[in-house]
Each structure stands twice: as structure tokens, then as C-alpha cells.
Amino acid sequence: MEDKGINRETLVEVNNISKKFCKDLKTSLYYGLLDTMKSVVPFSKSENNTLRAKEFWAVKDISFTLRRGECIGLIGHNGAGKSTLLKIINGLINPDEGRVVLTGKVGALIELGAGFNPILTGRENIYNNAAVLGFSRNEVDEKIDSIIAFSEIEDFIDSPVQNYSSGMKVRLGFAVAAHMEPDVLIVDEVLAVGDLGFVLKCFQQIDEILPNTAMIFVSHNMPMVSRICNQIILMDHGVVQYQGNDVSKGIDMYYSTFNTGDKNIVFTDDSTEVGHVHINGLDTEQCDIVSVNWLDDLHVSVDLNFKTKRGKLPNVNLSIFDKEYRGVAVLSIDEREVSGDIGTKARFTFSHKELQLSKGMYSINLIISEKKNTSPILRVNDIAKFQVSYKEEVWPPFMLKTNLKVENA
């Protein structure tokens, strides 16, 4: 994110934050009672830095600072401690160690439509939600038309919210939240709901707010993270796995934590098994990850074992998925070139010239069927992974080799 030329004072300072949680509810309530008692007895600084029975560190030793116009992305598996960290930063719960300093007005997009009552109308609930978010009555009166317009549900604004679809509720909630003018904005995964048009609108709004705020963004949507964040923290079990300004490195590490290497059989009629898979001659089970340079040729060999003598060739189809499991390509073959009978074992080798996929991790899915698109025999996701290496990183999945010619006209 470029400096927009606005005063770039530090708005968020998080220093060595730690928080412990208790796994067991009854014990947790009991500790809660103890802590409650301790906290009101003066001069009894409780021992915070040791774990009691059944406790664990939900967040351990996290630090970062954030200036106006900056955005930090918090990524990690479910249960990595992201939301707990957000709660501490938001002042909802106290840290057990460390210190948080926030400057300015804090806004949180964590729960949309807080304070809604289903019986009441959309208009009434705008007031309820706005009040919870810290608006004054005058501010709501001033902004209500704009809020209703933003939500695009003018026709139903005086109907009870219980008749709204979940998408409409989210629209209304976001419309109110979008009218906060925070210095520090905390965004947890809330924007995933709603139809496409509205999601785009939300992100457009966030883009508008971003230059004037320090933003903390929790998301599992990596393209979004890479687009708006200029710092990243990858968390796992409460501790930092990666922290820094190299957002794409953090994202790569996040994805690599999912690389279990396990084939994932989606469908099988038990007649066929996948054996070894070779990429450019390397056995994918032997080496960590096969690296292919951009514009190199790609050769994928799949060994198949059949229970009985097979005979007629089945239809074998490979498709390539990116690290977010979006299909990016299918290896297309000319069936007229393939013929012959096979026995109980066969190797299918797919060759593709001058691979033009962009830098990143890719996985291969396999579909075998009797005929094209019918009578499935076997379907396996992730039979192998490979990495495309190149000096430059781009976000689109393809980097197509192109010539440029410039002429005076």
C-alpha cells in the first residue's frame, strides 16, 4: 500500500500479547470466579504467566505496530488464535501478558447486525445496531438515508427483520457498519455472505476507508489478503509462524501447512488404483515438491493398477488446481492419437510444452471414466503437487508468454 500522503501516525501498538484459555467449561467458570475475586482485592497482582491445570496459551507473545493507511493480515487455521487476538485488541478481554495501545476511534466489523431484534423493522434495527456501534442519535438521523440506500433494501426497510433473508440482514448490518468513520478498523471474516454484487461493494467500501485507517484483517480469502495487506502474521496454535512485510511468503507458508501429501479419493468403483505419479521424471512420493520453471515442459506420468485385465483404454483426465483449489487448467489430449489395449498395469504420460502457469503451487486432480464425462471409475484429488518457479510473482494463474511490438503510428 503506497503512502497516501496522510499523516501516518502509529495507531495500533501490540506488545508481547499473551492469553491463556481453559479447555474445560466448569474449570473455566471456577477460574473466572477466582479471577473476579482477585481482581477486586487491591494489591493482589495475580500470577498471570503460569498455566493452571487444564489451561493452554491461546495467544502467545504477539507484537506488531500499525500506522494509519496500513493493513495487517492475520491468517492461520481455524483455532489458531486469530479471533482471540482480535478480542484482546478490541478490548473485550484483557491480555494475561503484554500491552495494547490504540489511538483514536475503534470500529469492528466482527458481527454484522449486532443488537438486531427480529420482530422490529429494518429501520428500527438500524438505530439499534448503530447505537451498539457507538453512533450518536444525531449521527444516525443524519446518515439513515444513506445507510438505507447503501443496503439497497428500500422496499423492505419497514418490514420486520425476521422476514429478511440472511443476505439481506448482512446487507443491512454492513450498511450501518460502513458508515462508521474509524481510525482503527478490525475486520473478521464477515464479508463472505451476501451475493457477489454486495461483496464487491463491501470491498470497494473497505478500499475507500483503508487510506484513513489502520486495519487489522482476519480472513481465509488469500487473494483478498494479498490485495489489501502490507504486513502479515501467520498464526498456529497461538504462536507466530511467520511475521513480516512479505505477504506472499506468509500466504505460501499458510498454504504449505495444508500440503499433507495425501491423495484424496472422492469416488471409486474399486476396480482401479493409482500407483506412483512422476512429474518430469521425479517420483512425487519420494521428493518434497517438484519444481518446474516457467516455460519448461511438464510431463506427468500416472501409474494405474487394474484389478482385472483392462483391455479397452479408459478415459483419463488430469486437471490442475491452484492453492485455493480453484481449477485453472485441464490437460487436453487428442483422443484419436491414443489407442491400444492395456493389461493390469499401465502408465499414462501427459506432456505439455512450455508451461505458462504463473509462479505458485499447483495440485493435480485425476478423473478416470469409461467414456468422456460418463460412467466414472475413479476420481482422486491431489494425486500430486508441483511448484512453478519464476522470479516474478503475479496473481493471475497464467503468465502467457507475449511479444510486444511498438511502432510509430
Binding site: 467458570l29 498471570n48 485488541i89 478481554i93 490504540l102 466482527i110 420482530i119 451498539v132 457507538g134 450518536s136
Partner: protein, 284 residues
Amino acid sequence: MKETKNVRIYTPNVDNSIFSIFLEGLKNLYSSHFLAYQIAKRDISAQYRQSFLGLLWSVVLPLSTAAVWIFMKNSNTVSLSDTGIYYPVFVFTGTMAWAILTETIMGTINVTQTMRSTLSKINFPKEALITAGIYKTLFNVFIKLIILSILLFVFKQDISWSISLFPIALFMMILFGTSIGLLITPIGLLYGDVGKLMTPFMQVLMYFSPVVFVLPTYDNAIGRILYYNPLTPLVNNFRNILVGQNFEQVSYYISIGLGSLLLFCIALIFYKITIPIITERIGG
């Protein structure tokens, strides 16, 4: 939303002095007024929009309690000493005072329960939950006052200048109830037992207070307990002001008022310190 830059600091232990916590609590009570009003309005309108009898529900309980006791008295099931005023008026004012007390004690817990899921997600001034509870009580008081004025008119009960002191009696009642309620709220949010215990406890306590009958004046331990029960002057004077009778136990009444004020300050500090601990454990 343009105001001076405020800096918030969160640390493990409460660094601030008790006094500054208290001041912040008072400040938030005032500044969160809009939120409190909005919560109260939301709960009240949602409650009545879903019901046919609507506002009448807030007087059903005091009227039915009154009816039961009027029946018991008239059928001589129980013999009660003379109340000095019409018995229906006595019972109605008594149950009205009692309802204010129970509503305010449970008020903060109940309002907090309606905001439970938000509590762990959005940082809003929790003081608004206290005020919202009080607003809801005041609304119910207002409805009951209308019924009471009809009763007073029907029974041609004399009223006097003392009715102008009603806001004070109401304030005392609310302050006492809210302070007790605020003290038990943190524990009550952790353990559901507290809320469950409250209902039977308040029922028993009602018979140790001059709600449906004049307390007998025994010159023994029980008599003294009844006499020094802080609820006795609270309920009695609440009623006396409404029906134009003389004040009772004046100095004790005043000291209960001052005591409640002190209790409220302590409870507010306790509430403010403990709410993050509670949030952590009830979080949704």
C-alpha cells in the same frame, strides 16, 4: 464522530486507580444514554408488538397477587391486622414496590443476556446495560401508575402533597435494587444458578417485608429482623408517599438511601473490573 483523540490501553492488571475506574463508569453511564435508550425501546417494543394484551401484561402480576390476597382476607383464610388504608390499594402499591425491586435486581443480568452474543464481539459501553434495565423498569412503573390512579380514584383514597415526593421514593427503590443487582451480575452471568435462586429467594423475602400485609410488631428477635429489614422502610415509605400517609423509620430510611448510593459506587467499580473476565468466559 469527530472528537479528540482518545487513547485506549489494555494490560493484564488493572493499572488505573479505583477512583478513575469509577469516574469512567459514571462518564460512560452518561455518554451511553442513547444506546441504553435504544436497547430498552427495542426490548419493550418487541415484547408488546408480539402480544395481544400488550401493555396490560405489566399489571397482570400485581393485580393477580392483589386479587389472591384480597380473596384470602375477605374469606378469612388469613387474618391480617388493619392496614389503615383500603386493602386493595395496600396490596397493589406493595406489589408495585416489590416488582420494581425484583426488576431492578435482575435488570442488568436480563439485559446483558439479550446482548450476550454481542458482548464478546463488539466493544460497547457495558454501563448502557445498567441504564437500559432501569429504563425498562421506569416504563413498567409508568403503566402501573396509571392503573394505580384508577384504583385510588375508585376507592376515593385521599392523596396529599406527599405524592410529589414519589420520584424520591422511586429513586431510592431503583438505586437499592440496581446496586444489589449490579453486585450479583458478574457472578450471575457466570453461573446460571444465581438467576434461578433469585426467584424463590425473592418470594420468601416478600413475606418478610410489608408487601401484602402490615408487619406484625413482635418484641422479639423475629420482630427486630422484620423491623430492621432494609426493605421494610423502602416498601412502607414508597406506599405511604403514594397514599398520603406519614413517613416511617425516617432516619433509617435516609441511611439506607445513603448506603445504597455507596453500594452503587462499589458495585459499579466491581462490574467494570470484572466484565472482561466474564466476557472471556461467556463469549459466543
